[in-house]
Amino acid sequence: MWTLAGRGWWLGRALAPWVTGAANMALPGPRPAPTGRAPAEFRASDRLSSSAGLKEKLDMSIFPVENIRNFSIIAHVDHGKSTLADRLLELTGTIDKTKNNKQVLDKLQVERERGITVKAQTASLFYSCEGKQYLLNLIDTPGHVDFSYEVSRSLSACQGVLLVVDANEGIQAQTVANFFLAFEAQLSVIPVINKIDLKNADPERVEKQIEKVFDIPSGECIKISAKLGTNVESVLQAVIERIPPPKVHRKNPLRALVFDSTFDQYRGVIANVALFDGVVSKGDKIISAYTQKTYEVNEVGILNPNEHSTHKLYAGQVGYLIAGMKDVTEAQIGDTLYLHKQPVEPLPGFKSAKPMVFAGMYPVDQSEYNNLKSAIEKLTLNDSSVTVHRDSSLALGAGWRLGFLGLLHMEVFNQRLEQEYNASVILTTPTVPYKAVLSSAKLIKEYRDKEITIINPAQFPDKSKVSEYLEPVVLGTIITPDEFTGKIMMLCQARRAVQKNMIFIDQNRVMLKYLFPLNEIVVDFYDSLKSLSSGYASFDYEDAGYQTAELVKMDILLNGNIVEELVTIVHKDKAHFVGKAICERLKDSLPRQLFEIAIQAAIGSKIIARETVKAYRKNVLAKCYGGDITRKMKLLKRQAEGKKKLRKIGNVEVPKDAFIKVLKTQSDK
């Protein structure tokens, strides 16, 4: 029988629940086996103390609510969130102390490569302190505001957070955004200044920043080096002392929050849950407040960080349950689960995923369509926040219009497709969901709504039928060394941003707040910001609703004929700039023809930009004798064959890649 000890727990590592079989195959390096639990993996990675507990199911009733702490770690990219998590896991004996524990909770290749957490992971830690056995639930959150909804749901299962700040870099934009999410959720915030071992570390300065920006007395900061393990134990102490236990009741009917869900191809959906009230055990009949569907619980357990089944889960505890759900959309993040015949008030704050960035996705080669389709299906099995609509383009063929929570979400999705499924895709320039308030009674009747959302420029309604257009806006936070302030303000102005606030967070660092139209930052804002601040400025944003905007539909014409795939919605003030840029890019990718090609950008009948591709003056092989003939004929036939595949717009022949070059996102990684 196992005993509660401060360390030395071994619950075994099993399959990371969210990794589906196929995805797993493609991942390099030591990985859990693709299916089921993997004994070899057990032996290889876990060799601590007794193995007695393995076969026994944990009795979670021995943890009274007052001995439970639910908390998250939040931090700017690279400030050491995952490394601190590794140390906490080691310190509590959850994982073995080896050199291989690098970002144990970050399992995706993209997460480790980019130092971001995409998929939240959860670990229950057992910790003994002053004679008491504590259950500390570390609920790891996605590390980016693209996922702020997920972050907010994860945080709603917590009572406190560890706010990790790099002792060298100090507060960054994401630190601020994360802090306010925690602050709004009324959580206890424990500031942790990490990387104090760095040569240029200046924890005192960071302490002062924290005091100034977050109004947290400087004495409350814990200074650690997660890398070296320095002072990490006092973080655990602070978790116990400063974070209150959850306010929940075991006696009440079950009320469980779904804060994450993953898909396993053999076991179905695995929902990560936090119990606000009641108890759940195997065999219970439960209902989803959102879908109203009933399920029978097959398995409950805790995450350590891999699943370990238990008899029951009790109020205040965090774990997983498997209940025959077939699809992650059946276990949506923020949903409430309750017992059959014992309905409860759903937990507040549930929202369906709301994509903010849309882009077309097409296979590079149409013959790859089915492979890509299955890869997208597999990836979205684990990410219900990606919306998928079938779409087709004359230039790019059959594909999809995908909606993402934000740009990073889009990039990560694309990267996972490439890395885990070896898919090669064309991603078109992202657009944002504009809205139009309709004035035409006929259209209102047609859409059955006065306000419509436009995710595809082709559907943009004419101004005569619209009383106003709306564009999504975000509140952006920029933190930068003050020497770059001037340039950054110019950049923001050029992006139609309105300054809301500007404060010095210490002697030479400035925090700027701007209200940005979302479409102004979706493509290359971050790159521009980074390049003009030599990489020092950081940026983050949060949803700030919609504002009215003078939007226009811009057509691109080739010798007077509209190119459907290049129709763009653009702000009136930016039309000239954007139109010119598209014309220039198109000019560079259109081959010369026997006549001049006029490339124009137009709003209605008004031409706002023009480029010209001159006619061929000479295109004939100079030397064509005996040996050249075979070569020339081969070339001509290949070209003639290629010409058949060209898209004809009026008399202009356009190679497929010309549009791709214009449509493709500009930031080549």
Partner: protein, 442 residues
Amino acid sequence: MAVPGARARGWAAAAKAAQRRPRVEDAGAPPSPELASRRAALYVHWPYCEKRCSYCNFNKYIPRGVQEAAMRNCLVTEAQTLLQLSGVRRVESVFFGGGTPSLASPHTVAAVLEAVARTAHLPADSEVTLEANPTSASGSRLAAFGAAGVNRLSIGLQSLDDSELQLLGRTHSANDALRTLAEARRLFPGRVSVDLMLGLPAQRVGPWIGQLQELLHHCDDHLSLYQLSLERGTTLFTQVRQGALPAPDPELAAEMYQKGRAVLREAGFRQYEVSNFARNGALSTHNWTYWQCGQYLGVGPGAHGRFMLQGTGSHTREARIQTLEPDNWMKEVMLSGHGTRKRVPLGKLELLEEVLAMGLRTDVGITHQHWQQFEPQLTLNDVFGASEEVKLLLEQGLLLLDDRGLRCSWEGLAVLDSLLLTLLPRLQEAWQQGTPSPVPGG
């Protein structure tokens, strides 16, 4: 066959006399009573050069020492073998190209010509051209080539600007070239051609036109203007790619070409092909054969040929390529009489595609009669008359289709490769509609 026949030796002397005869006949007219399938041009490749030119990607080798006797024997053997296989009875022209064939000894040239004359009929007035490099062609050598049977010279002058010649990696100076040209004209009056390149990196239009006009003071009745094409694997290509040289500007090259054509027209030259200009009827009959899709035999390493194997009873034209590398080629010739590495039978449609693509390079284009020789059923009007796309080209004034035939206009010739991208698919389409089951060579 150890003793060169008296007839062969006599041929060189007869040719010598014939070369003085002014050529007036139009190269377009059928020159002989022999059946087209029994006639051919002959190309002989001499694969060696002294030095690699910076722009050249031809099949050439810089040898430490040439075993000329062995090479000569192999050229002779292969010429005889291929003539026998082809069943060709009359050789209408011989062209010694390379490489640098003026580095070969006149004896080798004579031996090949004698072998040809022994195996087939080589009329005394057949055009026998030798490509000559100014540095390897002193007056006495040129005279010796003349004695061996050569009656036309093509001089790789390339430029009259010494710095450009250096850029091209040529071993001669502008003065060397002009001296060689004068010598050649003295020896082969009316039968000397010079090459001039255009579109070099950093070359400007004005000075180049100046070169052309200067050249007009010295040249004979034939001139070729070649636009430089940067070929992968050449020094020039690498230099441009690495940024050591500016990339040639296609706009400027187009302007040089247009202005150059105009200047030559003023000077009384007929542009009888995309890059070739002649006056006083001094067209190259050998090259004309290529553009008219006549048969030609390719002898020597890497040489290309297109002919039927009537000697073996076949009626299918084949595209043949000889083994590239000289030593290997020689081994094969010694082993089996020829060094053909690749044989590709040409289907009837493929042949018609070549008729189209090559014929349109010439000023006369494709006459109805010429087309009919290759395709008696489907007329030019059948193929192109109804096409909307072709109509557009006719309306743009790039192409002409009338009772003479199909040909490029002055403007159209400069963009022929673009026109062909419309014409070739149209031909394929018409062919598939007109002949459901084509029987190649049938």
